[in-house]
């Protein structure tokens, strides 16, 4: 709303300030430690690949179907 357009104007007027705010924010952020991060990446990776494999198996079923109907 008004805030959105405000944001936009501020960005157009002072990108420098925006970048400064942003970097300050990132510096204040808590970042995951190496160990946590590895754990997250592993969990997400396994989940992603597992779902992907199920999906891909379904896609493989398509190949004979394509031969049948095309």
């Amino acid at each position: 709303m008004a805030k959105g357009t405000n944001q936009f104007e501020r960005l157009a007027e002072a990108p420098v300030e925006f970048v400064r705010d942003g970097t300050a924010f990132i510096q204040k952020c808590k970042k995951p430690g190496n160990k946590d991060f590895l754990k997250i990446v592993r969990a997400v990776g396994i989940g992603f690949v597992a779902v992907g494999i199920i999906g891909y198996a379904i896609k493989l079923v398509h190949i004979p179907i394509r031969y049948l109907i095309v």
Binding site: M1, K3, C29, K30, V51
Partner: protein, 493 residues
Amino acid sequence: MAGFRLIELARPFAPLLPEVELPYEKIGFDDKVVYTIIAALIYVFGQLPLAGVVKDTIEEQGSSVLDPIYFLRGVFAAEPRTLLEFGTFPVVSSALIMQVLAGLKLIKVNFKVRQDRELFQTCTKLFAVLEYVVLANIFIFSGYYGSALTVFQVVLLNLQLVSAGLFVTLLVEVIDKGYGFASGAMAITTVTIATNFVGDVLGVNQLPVDNEGHFEAQGAIINLFQSMRASHKTFAGAIVGAFNRDYLPNLTTTLLVIALAVAVCLINNFRLELPIRSTRARGVNNVYPIRLLYVGGLSVLFSYVVLFYIHIVAFVLVQVVARNDPSSILYKVIGGYASSNNLLYVPQFPLSLLTPPKSFVECITRQPLTPIVFSAFMIVTGVWFAGLWQAISGSSARDISVQFKEQGITLTGHREQGIAKELDKIVPVASTTGAVLLALLVVAGELLGLKGKGASIIVGVSCGFSLLELITAEFQQNGGQSALTQVLGVTGA
């Protein structure tokens, strides 16, 4: 309610559109997981080839219309020349655009009134179906499915594309209405992107690559091993080929995609932890995390929705109106299409300014302006959206402070009245900064020539994170007696 309201337009259609009933009773954790996954898998299964498409021989294809939106397909889970030609784009775009319009008060909706909410939903759905119809006909009349279609073929194609679209809309609605985990479009997109990723890396299906009858595997890793053993290639040639074949996924793009996914994982876990304390009990201290990616992958999705619209309008003007004729004025003003590999339609200058290049070398040598214009586009649309979305999506600074008050917590070192103001200094900055970082990642990936895979993995991983968050929250609340977790042996997510 003075004046005309756009959502009233949907009223006569409300009884006509099929609708998913809200669940009668609360859906359990297991059922939700199953609903979500099955719905997404049905979507993947729905990528059946279209009937009634004119089959071009290879020679003819050079002159016919090719895929103009190849770099946008990944993000919207769209498969060319299947029932899901447009994927979830109409659903995602109509939902996002209607919400944005409502947020900007361009559409007047009172979300507190039940009837208004229902009308708004119908309106969104109607808009999505309408988009399927319009897109289907744009593609049909552009000659994408063949140049001389009979009336019967046109009707058949329309029927297939639109009914598949309606089906996707309902599939998304099933998840949205509480049978699954939150945003249905998100779940479907994530699963499809994961599927494509696995297919690109480990896909074993063999595709013909040349006229001599050689086949190569779709998956980059499978291809590496396979071509090492192939008799028609040298060992070194096989490895080089596995890294830089450009007709199918290669190892370089795979590694880049993985790097991007890891980067998204990293910034997804950046959060500002605000110290909070209870106003009721003394000495109860905790932290309230504000995520850097406050709006998640939605800002990238929004940028891509806008990009899609731009490219579709250009496609209509250049292909349907001007027939991609280099002498016409529209071709000169907007830029035409050049075919590549007999598969893709690559936009030319100036439309190429908003098109990710096919490879990094091509980007430097042939489209030196693209990096500037494309990144500017992604950042501006992303930031604008993130700024707006955090204010309208029900998790703005004011909403959080109301929540705080209800739960009797306050920020340490601030009076209760000052919470909203303090949060207002943090939340918009977080969401816009996060949007910029994501946009930069997308731009970096796309400019290196990932042809939409970069953007899609970023959207996929960040949507995956949003889903994961919902699932863990749900699990902690009532996943205790879940049979699924016992089977899978998960101990506390």
